[in-house]
Amino acid sequence: MQDKNGLYKKRNLDFKSITKSAGFTSLSSALMAIFLGLVFGFFVMLFASPPNALAGLQYIIFGGFNRIGNVFYFATPILMTGLSVGFAFKMGLFNIGASGQYTMGLFFALFAGFMWDLPPGLHWIVSILAGMLGGMLWGIIPGLFKAFLNVNEVITSIMFNYIGMYLVDMMVQGSSIMYTADKTRTKYLPQSAQIPSLGIPNSNVNLGIIFAILIGIFLYIILEKTIFGYELKATGYNKHAAEYAGMKGKTNIILTMLIAGGLSGLGGAFFMLSPSGIAGSSMTYEPINIIAANGFTGIAVALLGNSHPIGTIFSAIFISHIQRGGTLASLVGYKPEIIDLVIAVIIYFSAFAMIMNTTLARIIESRLEAKANGSDDTVDNMVEDKKDSADDMKGAE
């Protein structure tokens, strides 16, 4: 009896050391959220048109593999907004303003692309940087409001999403150089302002995705290896403790929002400066007074990647993948909006997937234990488990 118990405890420890590592929990909760999101999407499709539901689900899950170039192309802007939201999350700020910063970046990039005459090798680089500047400008505002006036960044961001959107649409429509009224869209950018294409056939994928991934890795280094990153995370965990330890809370808030805004702005620039499939043309922007969806998708991307820069890279590619699949689902009669719905459901569940997981794990583990041990020492383990799960809950918060 004694022996058996000791043996069991050892195995138990090993099992837990895997399941309890931070990476594993966030991965498993992300997968859980994705699974529930897809199940929900399937039920919606089943409700809307039963005979095609299975085919629709297949398109959503596997459709993207046929258009891998475009998956990366559409992943670029949402990767940037995802990094932006995730970066602010690390500091405990909710950057719902990624949309406005994205739109602002898009406009600044557009402006630099049309209005400035620069040599071909330099023009697109300057335009990208202009986009970053635009995003920074719109990102720093919620930071300033939060730091100096104690206004919640969520409300500020939302208000400035609207202000930015109206402002950009007005300025785009007001310029005859950028805008063609009869197409209600912007004109094609000059060739020199377009980001060089990677040359993959049948897709618009360009250098932007490479930059975006590099930026993700760079952010990872900042967060993990620099003092600034450490302070940022410390403030995110416990604001008061961080300030007590002498970290400059206000400066860090402003700096974080500045960087987050710049990241979203880059997303807008990468989107806007892309060449499109037809030679000589480029992406266009349609000013129709709607808040950019890519900013909100960024929230999903960040949450799914657990705000970790590397995780965000993968989750952006995944979301882009099911988005491509979603457009293919229209082949069997479903509208692409089904994906927005699935993404929203994924966010909903990922907000509490961690807790759900620990509950589930607790149930499974106690079942396993009951089987392995017989009834003698189950009670003992149950008590132990309860303690563990209490620890988990704290970790999840």
Partner: protein, 321 residues
């Protein structure tokens, strides 16, 4: 004078919609749950009510009866939707802002999906006219009649009634006091035997009811019976949150805030009718930004000494005393 009448007549439906939603936010937040999802709740309520109106509009019922029934439908829909927030925030202790955001994203997508599949458009437009040209007798009173009882909607009267009821519940009942306790200091409330979870559920559900009704009133009074997934409720849920903060979580001041924002918005959309503003030659888009800018200015001045419920946004955990 006619311009002033026009502004007031157009402002009231806007103000009522904002007022109801802001009151909803107040109930939810004084209970301790941050309700960013108001935008989604509004749209959800509005859509279901519009569906209802769409199917009964040819039945020959009195338009005002349909309005009341539609209001009921919107209230139930809003309540149902708010339960999603309550479940995540209270039972699952999820981040309330994130949950709210996801609920906001879900509805426009769902509306576009279903409207495109079943109505072949972005939303629903109902044909019925809820507009009241002139209320008998009351409409003939000089000045006041012109302002409040001509070219109006039934929604305005209902809105003021709800405001009175909400204030009474908030200040004069045991429930209101307990709810506020749960948002200020849930542990203290718990220690005297108040069920914090239940109270928070109640607060969120009330916000669902008011949010749903507010959404329906928005579609009736401002969009002429149209609900679509593209424009949704144009950020009214968020504006209502700003109104609530402006009103410092108190019904009376919320009314004042709602009127103020509604006035700005109405002004922005009727610039072309006011010769003085029109002749200034300012691009109308600037006026459209005004409610949002005004929100920021107001918040900048009020947030320092904010009287926000102390425990809002924090999941209640018995053990973390």
């Amino acid at each position: 004078m006619n311009t002033i009448y026009y502004l007031i007549q157009n402002m009231l439906p806007v103000a009522i919609s904002l007022l109801l939603v802001a009151l909803g936010g107040m109930f939810s937040e004084t209970g301790g749950i941050v309700n960013i999802a108001l935008e989604g709740i509004m749209l959800f309520g509005a859509y279901f009510a519009a569906l209802f109106v769409y199917f009964v509009q040819d039945s020959g019922l009195n338009p005002q009866t349909i309005l009341l029934l539609g209001m009921l439908v919107a209230a139930i829909a809003g309540l149902a939707y708010s339960l999603l927030l309550a479940f995540a925030a209270i039972n699952m202790k999820a981040d309330q802002v994130i949950t709210g955001t996801s609920l906001n994203m879900m509805i426009p997508a769902a509306i576009l999906l279903f409207s495109k599949m079943f109505f072949f458009s972005d939303g629903i437009t109902t044909r019925i006219n809820f507009y009241i040209r002139k209320v008998p007798i009351l409409g003939d009173i000089p000045i006041i009649g012109n302002m409040f009882f001509q070219r109006t909607y039934l929604t305005v009267v209902i809105g003021f009634l709800i405001l009175i009821i909400a204030s009474l519940v908030f200040y004069k009942t045991k429930f209101g006091l307990r709810l506020r306790a749960c948002g200020e200091h849930p542990h203290a409330a718990d220690s005297v035997g108040i069920n914090v979870q239940k109270m928070r559920y109640a607060g969120t559900m009330i916000s669902g009811v008011l949010g749903g009704i507010g959404g329906f009133f928005y579609s009736v009074g401002i969009m002429d019976g149209n609900v679509n997934g593209h424009t949704g409720v144009a950020g009214f849920g968020f504006l209502a949150l700003a109104v609530m903060i402006f009103g410092q979580w108190r019904p009376g001041r919320i009314l004042f805030g709602a009127l103020f924002f509604a006035f700005l918005r109405t002004l922005a959309y009727s610039v072309s009718l006011i010769p003085f503003l029109y002749n200034l030659g300012i691009n109308q888009t600037y006026y459209r930004m005004m409610p949002y800018l005004a929100t920021m200015i107001v918040l900048a001045f009020t947030s320092k000494k904010s009287r926000a419920p102390k425990a809002e946004g924090i999941p209640y955990d018995k053990s973390s005393r």
